[in-house]
């Protein structure tokens, strides 16, 4: 009475990673997959509030936002976009490696993914440092006087208060994104450890799949951040 009698007759006949409240491994895998997708839905809404704020103020203060956007480095931003795209490729290649029992490739792809992530963060750090040096960080030392509104003739200057809102959103949105990136690196460290220990097989590599989903989501957020923040008015 009270002992589990459903499903597995003997414990030796299935993967030790199967949790007992599930009927079988397929149910467990499907549950994990759906669970991660739903978690990503919450993340979309989490970032979504910031996109809403951005949308409204961009509409209100377009010229000031354009001027502020010009002062961040679009080449670095574009490079970072490419870096993340490459990292998404290495993620799917890692999963492919697990599916086809290619241990060396699996480890290599996971390491590469994390390397790309570190490059991304390194470039972001450089960007933040540049902004700090130029006094574009919102707060007491913020200064955006005498910055020309692009394409204005006669020359008009951006309202520093409105530009400060742009930078506030810039730092909050990219900062939150970077935080998710760091968490992603943590997750992939754990995945790398599991891969090193040989825990992944063609039949079982669910943590790779759901970790990969998270990483791709972080990539997608950046795909939107790049044009919205860096490319407001570049002509």
């Amino acid at each position: 009475m009270g002992a589990p009698t459903v499903g597995s007759a003997s414990h030796g006949s299935h993967n030790p990673a199967l949790l007992h409240h599930f009927v079988d491994e397929e149910q467990q895998r499907d549950a994990a997959n759906l669970g991660m997708w739903i978690f990503l839905a919450t993340e979309v809404m989490f970032f979504g509030g910031l996109f809403c704020a951005y949308l409204i103020y961009r509409g209100w203060y377009f010229p000031d936002f354009a001027a502020a956007s010009r002062s961040i480095d679009a080449l670095l931003g574009g490079t970072n976009t490419a870096v993340l795209i490459c990292s998404s490729l290495t993620v799917v290649l890692a999963i492919y490696a697990a599916q086809t029992s290619r241990r060396v490739m699996l480890i290599a792809m996971l390491v590469l993914t994390m390397l790309f992530g570190c490059v991304f963060l390194g470039i972001k750090a450089k960007e933040y440092r540049d902004k700090f040096v130029e006094h574009h960080v919102p707060g007491a030392s913020f200064n955006f006087d005498h910055e020309q509104i692009p394409g204005s003739s006669p020359v008009r200057y951006a309202n520093p208060r409105h530009a400060e809102i742009f930078f506030a959103l810039y730092f909050i949105m990219t900062g939150l994104h970077a935080l998710h990136m760091i968490i992603g690196l943590g997750i992939f460290t754990w995945l790398l450890w599991m891969a090193w220990k040989g825990r992944f097989t063609p039949e079982y590599h669910t943590p790779l799949e759901i970790g990969g989903l998270y990483w791709h989501f972080v990539d997608i957020v950046w795909i939107y951040l790049f044009p919205l923040l860096y490319l407001i008015d570049r002509h």
């Binding site: 809404m45 574009g78 490419a82 795209i85 490729l89 492919y96 795909i223 044009p227």
Partner: protein, 97 residues
Amino acid sequence: MSEHSKSSPLPTYFMVWGALLVGTFLTYEAAKVDLGVFNAAVALTIATAKALLVALFFMHLKGASEKLLKLVVISTVFFLFILLALSMADYGTRLRP
């Protein structure tokens, strides 16, 4: 759970990767051209196309046997759209002094 086709997925992955990089380049170059109000539309369209590529191919939405995951994505995007659109119903119709 996505079904794995018998043929290798590798060519697809590399093609998607290439398309994503091309899209990034296009976004960057298009921003330098003056398209007026359409600059934003172009940038967001390319971004959405890239996001779709990642979701469908890298996140295996395309191969998913059930409609459920696609429903999750569509619902989420729908409610995000509601947040943005109905907020604009206020901001877009306020009379400026």
